[in-house]
Amino acid sequence: MSEQPKKDYDFHKEHHTELLTVNMGPSHPATHGTVKFMLALDGETIENIEVDVGYLHRGFEKECEAQTWTGVFPYTDRLDYLASVINNVGYAMTVEKLIGITTPERCQYIRVITSELARMGAHFTCLGAGALELGALTAFIYFVEAREMVWDLIESVCGARLTHNYVRIGGLTSDLPDGFAGNVKTTFKECRRLWIDFDKLLTKNRIFLDRMRDVGGISSADAKAWGFTGPCLRAAGVPYDVRRAEPYLVYDRVDFEIPVGETGDNYDRFQVRLEEIEQSMRIVEQCLVQMPEGPVNVNNPEWRQPSKDLSSGNIEYMIHHFKNVLEGIHVPKGEAYQAVEGANGELGYYIVSNGSGYPVKMRVRPPCFPITSALPMLIKGRLIADLIPTFDMLNLIGGECDR
């Protein structure tokens, strides 16, 4: 037997060990959404982690300043590319706030419906990917199947699956297609079936519980201090939801619950998201019942570009068509902030206008960025395998975080 261990026995010093530094990403299978982690590993334990975001930085905010007000929409699509409609809605509502117009009621209902469908798609993807990265491929495929069906619905509405580009200032590109309510009904039936299958496969699975429970937990005070919003904040026990806290569109007219977790760990985040899918389905169903008939666009050619027939038959409409296309709509001078509940939390737009056809300043508050910044705090001292579910459940979306 060798000498007695001393009081200040330090394994690393005694054995001259070093930490193993590895790069996780930017092309690592776990870092979907292009991010890089610099890990300093002691065996399997993460001693230090540096999160390196920005690999998907495209200068979104600057790009927008070079576009007319309506030209920004395709760029907003690429923020949270899993829930494009919500981004569109947020931007459109901020500009409408600046202008001071309200969209027709039917438009607001359709915006809610498509937003919730997009949220479902995003949650399906997030949860499925989380399951996939824990090795449960079957669960992933179930939710991808559900997501594809939801995307089919969105495709039937706006013709696109991923980057919807559906919302316009003062309206929408088109009304809902015929038979949409019936399609929603059949799709939701299938989605609920898959949801139950997924739930059965994972929620009470002992291995899954062990992987998710007590990993990446955060207290509600910490979560607030780090600027968490959305499912991650609600998992920590704070029932904050923009849809309820500052109701926009018609969210105050529908009945839905805000699922809240207790410990803020990955399992709670998982369950909050799972429950939100169900709540989104409820919202969509209620909206379809409540939705009135009527126009979907503001009847004002100054803001909402009129249809082809009108603009070629009416001189005033024609002039606005020209002016809107060439100069962009002239949003009144001022600034506005509008937040919507994105799939990952509060997605805020802060826009400054100087009265010209272009935004002067555009700032997006991405929900992912503050959440991701807390990742090192959540994961330090844990095993490398814990990084995977934590990162998945924080759900960094590169397009949104890096802009």
Partner: protein, 92 residues
């Protein structure tokens, strides 16, 4: 026809290889492996004589040698970090 002498010769050669390894190599892990070679040479002899005399006591002793070698390897494995990485002058 294989006789006991064949095995003795083989065992001796292996043992000598082990000795040479212990005496010429500085790397402690290879020294320990050389010791294992010597132990195995002895094992071979034990098995051979057990077979020759028809008495399985030799097998029992091989069993014991293996147990001791395992214990030694386990102890050595966790002692290596200290010895290997803190070289002293001359020898190890």
């Amino acid at each position: 026809m294989i006789t006991v002498n064949h095995y003795i010769a083989l065992s001796a050669v292996l043992f000598v290889i082990g000795v040479v390894g212990v005496l010429t190599r500085r790397n402690i892990i290879i020294v320990m492996m050389s010791i294992e070679i010597m132990l195995n040479a002895a094992n071979l002899l034990l098995v051979t004589f057990a077979r020759q005399s028809g008495d399985m006591t030799g097998h029992v002793f091989v069993f014991m040698v293996m147990a001791v070698a395992a214990a030694e390897a386990a102890r050595g494995a966790c002692d290596h970090p200290r010895v290997v990485q803190e070289p002293r002058d001359g020898g190890y």
